[in-house]
Symmetry: C2
DNA sequence: AACAATACGGAGACTGTCTCCGTTTAGCAA
DNA sequence: TTGCTAAACGGAGACAGTCTCCGTATTGTT
């Protein structure tokens, strides 16, 4: 399921008939407005406000997205497609370890731009939407290739790398928002790469 | 400033005369109740509720702690003394790198127990209360010793280690709360230790 | 005992969450 | 087209949490 089709047979819709036209319109618009709003005001942005700015009543918002997390998920689902596209070329790179490093840095940057909204995604491998799965799967491929080439230790798991990476994301994000410079994602990912490399 | 004395010339009090007896009593009681409440209900526990359970009006709570963060800080200030005590023996250990590793694991465990309340502390080196400073300073000593013994790379900074550690804390915390087992703190800290070790 | 200075506490304004239900609309079938 | 029904809308309003204002009470000092 890609973000584009998400609205049709939306979140866990029991694959019944497609959404009515007006419902779909509102769904789309809500996700759109929510994205702006979350980016501008953080993940606690007022939901009623989002509804208002999308030109619908609160009831409509809550019918489509019963909880804040559901809305957050939908917003992330769009965004994740963009990120995954970034990885495509890396999957064919000639130097797997370097490719992995580059991907992890990109991941941190992307998630960082997206504020704290997406950080949970790195950890959950199997949420409703493939949202998180896409990221997990991409990482998995890159890690397996790097293991195969002998550059990464075979005892390291995908989950571990994702945990460490989400940690870097969190640390960089927090550091920025409290005006503590801290080290760059490149540097921290570098240290992690050193830790998981064969030697 | 230790937690015990915190109430006397409390948060950034312009070192004027000490708190009045009733004020101090309420301050103490509030921190006490807040600790329970945050642990039980997370960092969004209702402040009015805390005030009520401490037997004071909301006004009193807000006079002592103008923002939620101020209260959170006060709660953490108590807790940090406990943690720091754990490090005392490690500072004299004969194997600095092992001691550092042990400390970092302890740190993750402690912060984890304390839910998400304290994770921000690892990153901020110079908050109002020494709260964060204590942790930072302790880590610094352990890291310097490990560098001096040649086991840790000299180019690694304290901040970097704290960033990575807070990341592990975050990752383990999130993983737990969304029922994703993930790897243990020991394992992840181990990978980080590998990354920052000389080879 | 009297008097500042300090602190208390609760009423209430305000903001955000979420639901209920009467009204409207889309889509289909005749 | 028209009429019908399931689907969807949206806003009033109940509720919960935040935070302030200010009249009242307490403390510690002379």
């Amino acid at each position: 399921m890609t973000a584009e089709t998400a609205a049709q047979d939306a979140p866990d819709r029991p694959s019944r008939r497609p959404m009515r036209a007006d419902a779909r319109r509102n769904y789309e618009r809500l996700v759109e407005v929510a994205t702006e709003s979350f980016l501008a005001n953080g993940p606690n942005a007022s939901l009623d406000e989002i509804a208002k700015r999308a030109g619908v009543g609160p009831g409509t918002l809550y019918r489509h997205f019963p909880t804040r997390d559901d809305l957050l998920d939908a917003v992330c689902a769009r965004w994740v497609d963009t990120v995954a596209a970034d990885a495509r070329p890396l999957l064919e790179a000639t130097e797997p370890a370097a490719a992995l490093r580059e991907w992890l840095v990109k991941l941190v940057d992307h998630v960082g731009e997206f504020k704290g909204l997406a950080s949970a995604l790195l950890l959950s491998g199997d949420r409703k939407h493939e949202t998180a799965g896409v990221l997990h799967h991409t990482s998995e491929e890159l890690i397996e290739r790097a293991k195969a080439s002998g550059e990464i230790r075979p005892d390291v798991t995908v989950t571990e790398v994702m945990q460490l990476t989400s940690g870097v994301t969190y640390a960089c994000g927090s550091a920025k928002q409290m005006n503590k410079p801290g080290s760059s994602p490149e540097r921290l990912i570098g240290l992690i790469m050193d830790g998981i490399s064969t030697r």
